[in-house]
Symmetry: C2
Subunit: 601 residues, 2 copies
């Protein structure tokens, strides 16, 4: 039987001890924050996720969603009731603005709920997850009337939202979209076209679904500069704001996918559906990026979330499973075999899982803090710094976080041996579910180009210089401590590789931009290693301080320091080989003709 419990101690460690969230309570929205509040959110959300959502995870995988002939969709058994509970508990309202019915708490807390929901049931979590993204776009770009009409009910979970970007012939390159928006006499638009891969596109969990749809108005430029964003509700609202007439849009089919079967991934047909423009004409892409950036952080959390639940199950399995003997002699001589935990190769995978999940958790929570600081920090300089760092770290959290999340989930499956390949142990589902995270909200190749082609060079490299300064500061501090110094030196070396790779791009990408493209993915991984290494140094320092103060939780803090050392030993060396790969440039990569890739008879 698959298991899951909230990693509550770890969350509290990062939020209350490493980040020390209480320390920010002079900021707006943070006044109510205390370590007690953090504990309550972690415990209660953890309980809800472990007890209500996790038992439905396998149900969702097995049953999937069912589309009926009339285009209606039934979600898996229990999803509707669980969403009702989610709504009543107000888990979707934590970090939403108070003005629209939210609780106005820091994003760190909203992100915690995203992790817990992602681990317990990713397919379920996507229904409210997409809603959060759609709401963010309306709040950022919608009119006052649109905000007042839609946001409160989306925040409360009474209605859900979707993002409609992709069309059959067009994914990343949104300039190619064909969906049309014809202006109507009443100020609305008639939306016509087909959208695919629409997560949560149709379902039975809420009384209305607010689709945010990218479309082109007549005569719009034939490029990404000609896209506008529209609100297209499933039920057109009555004057009093209640759902009324059924709009002319429908789910044409549900995609058969590798995983996340519990989420209804729909082909959506818009047939002159009534829609209202959000923000300015032809500025839809910018509005979409509001959603997208929030969504990318969320997907980075998913990479961790699936790795986490896979890790917890692998730990339980490895502890119980007895095969063979330790290389150094029997550990359990009274048993016929030792637990497989004694085998170094099992340990390697478990330590990789532990080192990744804990660092990615620290990094997303730090990212959550930046989301708030970006708006709420006291000085313009602090807000700017938060914005720069968040922009830089978003593609890393998403791209590195999901690449490694998939690797870790795969390795956790490996710990189970043959049992990992059998669906009843649950871990196959985690691998299948997390696979999508490398693809959606911009493939990881797109994340790499966002990082290297956009974020690195912006404002004369201000963000990356700030990142280096922050990391260097942490390294310098850690080098003062004799336990942490050897760890810090290895992180410093990795950071040196990142600096060298940055320099190489500066010197070579102007002459041939393919040199940048050819190294972008590797660069993103070096930066992931350094960002995680930075978090490990900060966690190790926090643990070291707690041990120095005196604590009864010695084993927990010592494990943090050991894991930091493991990370330094086993994760940082790749920074060097990735840098060497970058420095070979694009020549051998781009030289062949397309025909040379095809197999000859």
């Amino acid at each position: 039987m698959p298991i899951y419990q909230a990693p509550a101690r770890d969350l509290r460690f990062v939020i209350n001890e490493m980040i020390d969230l209480e320390n920010y309570n002079n900021l707006p929205g943070f006044e109510a924050v205390s370590s007690d509040l953090v504990d309550t959110v972690v415990n209660e959300a953890g309980k809800f996720c472990a007890e209500v959502l996790f038992p439905l995870n396998e149900v969702g995988d097995r049953e999937g969603c069912t589309r009926h002939d009339d285009g209606s969709v039934t979600t898996p058994t229990g999803f509707k009731e669980a969403f009702q509970q989610y709504r009543e508990a107000g888990w979707g309202t934590l970090s939403s603005p108070e003005e629209f019915g939210g609780q106005g708490l820091p994003h760190v807390l909203g992100f915690v709920v995203e992790e817990l929901m992602g681990s317990s049931n990713q397919a379920f979590a996507m229904y409210p997850g997409l809603t959060t993204g759609a709401t963010a776009a309306i709040l950022a770009k919608g009119s006052e009337e649109q905000k007042a009409t839609y946001a409160p009910k989306m925040i409360s979970g009474q209605w859900t939202g979707t993002m409609n970007l992709t069309e059959p012939h067009c994914g990343t390159d949104l300039g190619l979209i064909r969906t049309k928006a014809e202006p109507q006499a009443d100020g609305s638009f008639a939306i016509t076209g087909t959208k695919i891969f629409i997560s949560s596109g149709e379902h039975d969990m809420a009384e209305n679904i607010i689709h945010l749809v990218l479309a082109k108005t007549p005569g719009a430029p034939d490029s990404s500069k000609g896209i506008s964003l529209f609100i297209v509700p499933k039920f057109i609202l009555n004057e009093d704001g209640t759902p009324g007439e059924r709009n002319t849009l429908s789910c044409g089919s549900i995609e058969e996918k590798m995983g996340i079967h519990g989420n209804s991934t729909c082909v959506m047909n818009y047939d002159g559906a009534k829609g209202w423009m959000v923000g300015e004409e032809n500025k839809g892409l910018a509005a979409m990026f509001i959603m997208m950036n929030a969504a990318r952080l969320g997907v980075g959390i998913q990479g961790l979330a699936q790795a986490e639940v896979a890790y917890q199950n692998a730990v339980a399995y490895a502890k119980d499973r007895r095969q063979g003997r330790a290389l150094t002699g029997p550990v359990s001589p009274d048993e016929k075999a030792d637990s497989i935990f004694v085998h170094p190769d099992v340990r390697r995978m478990m330590m990789d899982g532990k080192a990744f999940t804990e660092a990615q958790r620290a990094l997303y929570l730090y990212g959550g803090l930046l989301v708030d600081l970006e708006h709420a920090a006291q000085t313009e300089e602090e807000r700017q710094e938060a914005d720069d760092l968040l922009g830089l770290l978003t593609p890393v959290l998403k791209g590195y976080g999901t690449d490694k999340g998939y690797d870790v989930a795969t390795n956790m499956q490996q710990v189970f041996g043959g049992h990992g390949y059998i669906e009843e142990w649950g871990v196959s589902q985690y691998v299948r579910d997390v696979r999508i995270a490398m693809i959606y909200e911009g493939t990881n190749g797109i994340q790499a180009m966002d990082l290297c082609g956009r974020k690195l060079a912006a404002n004369g490299g201000r963000a990356i210089q700030l990142f280096f300064a922050k990391v260097d500061e942490t390294i310098a501090e850690a080098k003062q401590d004799e336990t942490l110094a050897p760890i810090a030196e290895k992180i410093e070396k990795a950071n040196g590789e990142l600096k060298a790779a940055t320099m190489w791009f500066m010197q070579n990408a102007m002459a041939n931009p393919d040199h940048l493209g050819a190294g972008a993915h590797h660069y993103m991984h070096i930066m992931g290693i350094v960002a995680h290494g930075w978090m490990w140094l900060r966690m190790a320092k926090t643990a070291q301080d707690k041990l120095a103060e005196g604590t009864t939780d010695t084993a927990f803090y010592e494990a943090k320091i050991t894991t930091a050392r493991y990370f330094a030993d086993r994760f940082t060396p790749d920074a060097g080989s990735l840098r060497r790969r970058i420095e070979t440039g694009a020549d051998s990569m781009m030289e062949l003709s397309v025909e040379a890739f095809e197999r000859a008879a």
Copy 2:
């Protein structure tokens, strides 16, 4: 629609040009070998696989196998008929001994068929694949009567075979098995116990199934030294050798798996079933290793096979799919977007796929040659060398080959973007199917320990020294050529890392064997890089020679040299970081208590 065609030109290149199989025709079994024969086998087997087996691949995935209440199993639509065609064409007989109805041709040719079948339908290929392993054990350890009774019908495909090792509580550690074998008055044994994960355990494709079962006789030592091997046929043979009475064994259930749904993975219940011992009592493990070694090579081929079909589909998709523009300016200005082949990150994944599949193909074909040379080479020294190299390369072909095969299949899926996650494009199945290859026939962690704990040290390191000598020789030769020299230097550097890692093990593993265990997986990967690099040098040299001779196939040979350069640029740097990881030893990996891995509330 998924596509597949045999990579015929590549196979011919390796067999006829790089290995130059005709050159060995003074060896027994090779007399009939000519490049024409190779072409015929490649073309005809390729045709059968592409036209008959590949169209059933998706059918098998979707339908799976069905167990009926009486324990009988129906395979997916078309499988039975395809197996009849396979049998009639004699594809299973190619490399089997003529004495038992085989064609006695070199294993290289049998391996080619394994690749083509694996690419076109891995779940189907496992039915004859397991039969080959079971037959090998009977031929190696069975009595003359057993060989004569079973081998011809298994080789012809009239009957199939299985391998019954795993039990619910026991996988890798076969010393723990509980299945019992009670001697009977007639010389047979009554076999009782439950076996799990039995591939092709029950089906409707052949008139009999010959189960090879590991079990313990009364009073046998309570360890892996107390295991014996038994032939347990589904239908006990009549005096005339035809299948007669139904044996008391049955399929209890079919496992629900992540992939290879077309293969019936059975829980097999033996209830006093009649069996006959193969070879000596308590020597079953050695007999099982006969099967296992052949099977491991086969699984290494599977890693390639799935990567190959995924690669072919990704090439076709990337060629057709248009999104965005090249970083260096529009390549197809008349179209609204360029083919995604122009994007360096797509190229990176495609070149990785090309570099891996072609090197793994060369390596398994070289392995096939070694299987023959091991028995048929003219001098004892040559036979010994072939045996040493094959033993060393088997875990690398399996472990590195399937780890990378999974990576490549995953990246080929990534090329499809969101479409890769949808089952209709086929590539999700390749990822799900290839996943098992990292697990079965000994997990890749077991392969790494076989390599480092057994093969490296055997005979005073004779095999690895031979490997180094062979690789060094190829490097030295390539360095004479100005085009190949820069490639050779990078392979030489990787080989230097392998030598350093070997030395580090020698100096440290005696003091603490966990140092070996902690580095084994990384060592296997360095050796994979070096072995593939060696193959790339040999392929590049062959191509260079052909170009020097003058050829009309210039583009093909030039692509080989470019791909060799890409491999040297992008694959070899990891050898350095893996070596550095090994040299950090086991300390931080093994330090934590098991409890430290569990999440605290």
